[in-house]
């Protein structure tokens, strides 16, 4: 998922240049990491505009806080932490407006033996895009990072700053809530 790590020595030079006020160096740094960051942002956004907005916010925060980067962990990890926290903040802000998307017109069942994996993936993505906003922001964040980004509990704990136990508890609650949401949607369709 994360892709190859960029060359750290050239990255250090870029960071030093950014701190000297070199805008070109900042653009180069963004170009190296944009795909990783935008994919994280896309997991929590509904439209390309939201992805752009969130992505810009993440890189601006990184730019403004760059002096705090000590180089103890790879820059990509430091940036991912900013990305995840920004996504969490965005989820909390947006919670009211996106919490009520109907599930009625979404295909709720995935075929056991799908003829086309791509259709299956799209159907699953569409269903989750409506079901996940019904979770609490923290639950949505944890379940997305664990199940869709395939990160470990330890990684999620490092990214969010929560303890491993906390991450597990939130993941458990998120799964339970998601199951309930799907069951209720099933009942709604039957009734």
């Amino acid at each position: 998922m994360a892709g190859p790590e960029p060359d750290s020595s050239s990255e250090e030079r870029l960071i030093a240049a950014v701190l000297e006020g070199d805008d070109g160096a900042f653009a180069a740094l963004v170009a190296r990491h944009k795909r990783r960051v935008l994919r994280i942002a896309a997991r929590f956004s509904r439209t390309p505009q939201e992805i752009e907005e969130l992505g810009q916010e993440i890189f601006l925060k990184a730019y403004l806080d760059l002096r705090q980067y000590r180089g103890e962990a790879p820059f990509a990890h430091w940036l991912s932490r900013i990305a995840v926290r920004s996504c969490y903040d965005a989820l909390r802000k947006r919670r009211r407006e996106i919490g009520t998307l109907p599930l009625d017109d979404t295909a709720l069942y995935l075929a056991d033996d799908p003829a086309d994996d791509r259709d299956q993936a799209e159907a699953a993505r569409a269903l989750l895009s409506r079901a996940l906003p019904r979770l609490r922001p923290a639950e949505r964040l944890v379940i997305t990072l664990l199940e869709l980004e395939e990160r470990t509990v330890r990684e999620v704990a490092a990214l969010t700053g929560w303890s491993g136990v906390n991450v597990k508890v939130r993941a458990f609650r998120a799964r339970r809530a998601l199951k309930r949401i799907l069951e209720e949607a099933d009942d709604g369709k039957r009734g």
């Binding site: 994919r39 730019y63 403004l64 994996d117 993505r125 269903l127 989750l128 869709l148 069951e183």
Partner: protein, 104 residues
């Protein structure tokens, strides 16, 4: 239902992992826009020493102003001007000057 529900969720997640978000449209020229935004933030002073500390120092300055105000009122007698007295004195002085000057 729980076991079935879990299986269903696992299948759902596995299928959704096959549809990685497409960010290609946003990626185009993204770094140029990000650099422009950073430049703008720097121009406005966001993140600079002043930008970071100015807001944090507001309570300190407010406290300082209140303390100085209270200290002045408590320790300097007559520091609060009686505007009426001042105006009356000015009027008297003007009248005196007038009478001495023979105006009237």
């Amino acid at each position: 239902m729980t076991a079935n529900g879990d299986k269903r969720l696992d299948r759902l997640f596995a299928a959704a992992r096959g549809a990685a978000p497409d960010t290609s449209r946003v990626e185009e020229g993204f770094e140029a826009r990000a650099a422009a935004r950073a430049r703008e933030a720097r121009r406005r002073g966001e993140g600079g020493l002043f930008g970071v500390w100015a807001w944090r120092l507001v309570p300190l300055f407010a406290g300082l102003v209140i303390t100085v105000g209270v200290w002045t009122a408590a320790t300097v007698p007559g520091s609060v001007l009686d505007m009426g007295t001042e105006m009356a004195a000015a009027w008297d002085a003007a009248e005196l000057a007038d009478s001495l000057g023979g105006g009237g």
